[in-house]
Symmetry: C2
């Protein structure tokens, strides 16, 4: 049985869970708070980051969300999330990196720091300026997703792909942390509503991080 | 004909060039300085980063070094740089990400900032403390490579892979910028000497970045 080391608001773990859900791969959740830097976790992953997937019976340890997704793309045929030609796949991977690097660094990581880590770990209040900047960056990212969806059915092309799952994973964490103002982003909102109603997404939306609560609209498909 | 947008000291472009060299894919170099943020370049890649590969006849644009490498792995059979089982490939991809994220952030990016960008763009002198920290981090990374090579023939497993090319790409830029003290790292030095003598590596070692010169040992196979 695969075990996924993660915590409820880790966007990279959410991306992996959405992929596993689409592919119908079973796994058990193991709660890991990377900020604790637990010795046994560092022994497993020297980078000290979630997600990690381990199958102890087989002795397999998979580290890094994109590596994990590529592994299951290679081993499970069902529901390819890197569909199409090599060039189509390159466009999907470009967007995955865009959301994992840019949206994470500019929007999700600052929100997690201000609204989650400061509360849980540092017992401090969030910095209003940092929150304002993250929300402004979120708005630019939503503009870019609006633009992509004006040109294509899904974010990475004509069919659902890992680009959609990745964008939704980061967006969902930002939304949980109150960082998303959906007004003026109808196209992206419609796309996100469609994703929210997928069976792969529902378990994520029902989970809660201790101490930190999401806004009311967070888990509603109609928001 | 493929065109590769890059500058001589971009480690991500070096990784791509090493892969293309091993696979025997021809390309033309186009000089791009991402810090200039040229409008036409931003139109091609909204992330504004090198490397980008473009085949204008075919209308194909590939963005992000890992995306580019996956593309050529999928389309060119010669010299697989992601060899082995899905689990072997996952270990290689984990290490690629490790060097691209960690070694780049802790060693290569600070050296590039202090010894290249400050000279070329800001006309400032480097900060001694930042340089000391980058060199200390370089030493830890070399320790980790020593450790990997104590357990395996190559960095990612029994055969040459993208993990070796990625580590060598980052190390070569750090070495050019005078950030590597090879003493005490005999195993890694031996591995690096073997890579330096490969035909895929030689063109990189003979190129120079304007204004910034490498130390004497930089392009010597015997150093
Ligand atoms: N490249 C990694 C990034 C994972 C990552 O940044 N995880 C965060 C949690 S969301 C983490 O573990 N941070 C702790 C740290 O970096 O020390 C991936 O895609 O899996
Ligand atoms: N994930 C990208 C990172 C590329 C990257 O950081 N390139 C640097 C040059 S070495 C760059 O363009 N920096 C300018 C910027 O980030 O604005 C890749 O693997 O290609």
């Amino acid at each position: 049985m695969w075990q996924l080391y993660q915590f409820p608001l880790c966007p990279f773990s959410r991306k992996v869970r959405l992929l596993l859900g689409e592919k119908g791969v079973g796994y058990e959740l193991v709660r890991e708070s990377p900020w604790v830097q637990r010795d046994e976790f560092l022994d497993m992953n020297p980078a000290g980051q979630t997600p990690v997937m381990a199958d102890s019976a087989a002795g397999t340890v998979l580290i890094d969300s994109s590596t994990i997704c590529e592994y299951f793309e290679e081993t499970i045929d069902k529901a390819s999330m890197l569909p199409g030609t090599a060039a189509n796949r390159a466009e999907i991977r470009r967007l995955v990196t865009w959301f994992d690097e840019r949206m994470y660094a500019e929007v999700v990581a600052p929100l997690m720091h201000e609204r989650m880590l400061k509360r849980i770990v540092h017992r401090m209040t969030p910095d209003a300026k940092a929150l304002r900047e993250a929300m402004k960056a979120a708005n630019s990212h939503l503009d870019y997703v609006d633009y992509l969806l004006d040109h294509r059915r899904w974010i990475g092309g004509p069919v659902l792909s890992l680009a959609d799952l990745t964008a939704a994973a980061h967006l969902s964490v930002a939304d949980y942390l109150g960082g998303i103002d959906w007004r003026g982003h109808d196209r992206t909102k419609e796309w996100y509503a469609a994703l929210k109603s997928r069976p792969s997404f529902r378990p994520l939306l029902s989970e809660r991080m201790e101490i930190v609560s999401p806004p009311d609209h967070y888990d509603k498909v109609d928001f």
